[in-house]
Symmetry: C2
Subunit: 374 residues, 2 copies
């Protein structure tokens, strides 16, 4: 699931991560059926993988497949139903036991072998023709699970093998959203409350806590204003051109390629008299096969703002305080930078540097904002 | 903070707990000012400790004090203001840095020494006259922080020393609550949804997931029906006599004494024609000093159901499904048992065995229910 562990075998390490801590912080959610069901109920996600597999049976028939992070086992089961000769379904949590009963209940135990363990540690009896995985986190890279897919690819994919999905892209666009007002109000409410608390504590209990005002406000600011939000945006909230800020070819990408994501891009505001309230980040993946062995039917899975095809990923929203009035034709020059958090490599720190030019030619002072994807 | 760690020095171990995992699961919440503020805003809690200290200055004047788990530093500051000669304020998280600035801002740096570290590991220059700590979790023992207070006492309290608080009790009473209907409805809604999901998955995706119905329903049942709830109950919801199920003398208690809590008790229903919807658990602590050196003013801090003196602890509610109709005079013979969870010693597993006798003399079949304090 996208990380190096103390028991790493044969995969480059981005830094030792204690397995117990990784489980307490990350893996444990995936052991719950409720969480698996949530993902299985995402029709856009399910349709994309289902169609990618069954409209490209030539990639599966008689072939060997590795499902990285099989969860409930759904992709492994579909791969077997599409004609795979053998499927290895690797899952780090006890969810693997449920995957195994699901495989048995669907009469696929001769084809699908469920293996409990981390991708970095398991040993397979052979290399595979296909690696399939649903590894994408919010804004693609949150959770850093792709590290484990890269590890699997480097260890177990045949030189002729195919990645499912084959490509991934990260997108950013300027947006408008009333969330910017809500969060600002929440923050200000928390600070009002704090000042009342300071007074009570001084009067009733004789302790002056005003020295904590600054760290408290920083903590609240980080929580209310600087932490990215999950939201399912409507396309009407996208107020300017969206830009691709990262492209990943899953057959060649290295962990180094994804440790840092930086991009300079432009976006033109397409809405008259609106507020730039921040930016939205999302992703898409494609199932194209490989150049020498392409898909017969290319499938796309996108998490872009949509009126009726929202996914459980939503988009990640980075709010700008205060919002900025912009006009149709205003131009944004944006520098985007994303790095892994030092405390937890599965979480991210993001920076947006925004230079706004009005249609008149006037250039506003640069806006530099830091965010946390938690 | 109530646990043995890998670096245990001089304290009996209840089993090795990885420090990193303990931080990820437990300690980390206490590093947030928002969380500290929530506790500092609990007037009942604050008043009790404030009065316990300032109405018993003889215990503090010219004395040495240890504050176990100082958090923001409030108890250490009050101890100094009450005349202590020296206060050691131990805190395992980075909150210690805020405690230190608070001490400095209140001009007590010559008296209060804030030490970042776990109680099991820190080394003090001397033994102390008083150990003060606010260690109580939900239903007293959730979080198992008292382990760390016992460790502190065994290592650092003088033979003549005093514990603040000196005593603690756990209470249980039968209750009525509409939560029992809410949770039941939530559970049934989740199961209805599941069956729809099963059908969709079979029809749209060709996978029969019915083998997961049983584990899914067990998971949902545990979540909705078997996990204790936080609630601030009104005294009107207490429908029968409350019983003390555990008494702790903080000067003599050992970790062994609190590993398991068992009690057989009776409760008589005091409300006519009502439903036994479950049981509530809460606690109280007392500040009585010690027999040879008693408090001048005994203070009580109770978390019993109250119309206007609720605390942030609330009560722990254990719901009975289905609720049972009982009458005034019905008698409950209850066997209560609580043990630490194997996966996480700071969480608990609870069992209630209930035998109901109606006023007519009729005895209902015993009800045996297991619960989780998460």
């Amino acid at each position: 699931m996208g990380s190096s562990t103390n028991g790493v075998v044969g995969c480059s390490s981005t830094g030792a991560v204690d397995k117990g801590v990784d489980f307490a912080n990350y893996f444990c959610t995936y052991a719950f059926l409720y969480h698996q069901k949530e993902m299985l109920c995402d029709r856009v996600r399910m349709d994309a993988y289902y169609n990618a597999i069954f409209q490209n049976k030539h990639h599966f028939q008689g072939k060997t497949v590795l499902d990285v992070g099989t969860g409930s086992g759904i992709l492994a089961i579909w791969s077997a139903q599409a004609g795979a000769r053998k499927v290895y379904a690797v899952e780090a949590t006890k969810m693997s036991e449920h995957a195994r009963s699901l495989v048995n209940a669907n009469n696929l135990q001769d084809i699908v072998e469920v293996i409990e363990g981390s991708m970095e540690e398991v040993v397979l009896p052979e290399k595979v023709d296909v690696i399939i995985s649903e590894w994408m986190g919010y804004f693609l890279l949150r959770e850093s699970m792709f590290d484990s897919v890269i590890c699997a690819r480097d260890r177990w994919l045949k030189p002729t093998g195919v990645m499912y999905p084959s490509h991934a892209r990260m997108w950013v666009s300027p947006i408008r959203s009333s969330l910017v007002d809500q969060r600002k109000n929440d923050y200000e409410g928390a600070m009002d409350d704090w000042y009342g608390f300071l007074e009570d504590t001084k009067n009733s209990y004789g302790v002056d806590m005003s020295v904590l005002t600054r760290p408290f406000s920083e903590e609240q600011e980080k929580y209310y204003l600087q932490t990215s939000l999950w939201n399912n945006l409507h396309p009407h909230q996208v107020i300017g051109t969206a830009a691709v800020i990262k492209e990943i070819d899953c057959i060649t990408a290295t962990v180094n390629d994804i440790l840092q994501v930086t991009s300079s891009f432009s976006s033109t505001i397409s809405m008259e008299h609106t507020r730039l309230c921040g930016f939205a980040g999302w992703f898409d993946v494609h199932f194209r096969g490989r150049r020498e062995d392409p898909a017969q039917q290319e499938i796309e899975l996108t998490t872009a703002p949509s009126s009726n095809n929202g996914t459980h990923w939503g988009q990640q929203v980075f709010l700008l305080h205060p919002p900025v009035h912009v006009d149709e034709g205003s131009n944004l020059n944006v520098y985007f930078s994303m790095n892994r958090s030092k405390e937890n490599h599965r979480l991210m720190e993001v920076e947006f540097d925004v230079k706004i030019s009005k249609p008149s030619g006037k250039i506003l002072p640069p806006i530099i904002k830091k965010f946390y994807i938690e």
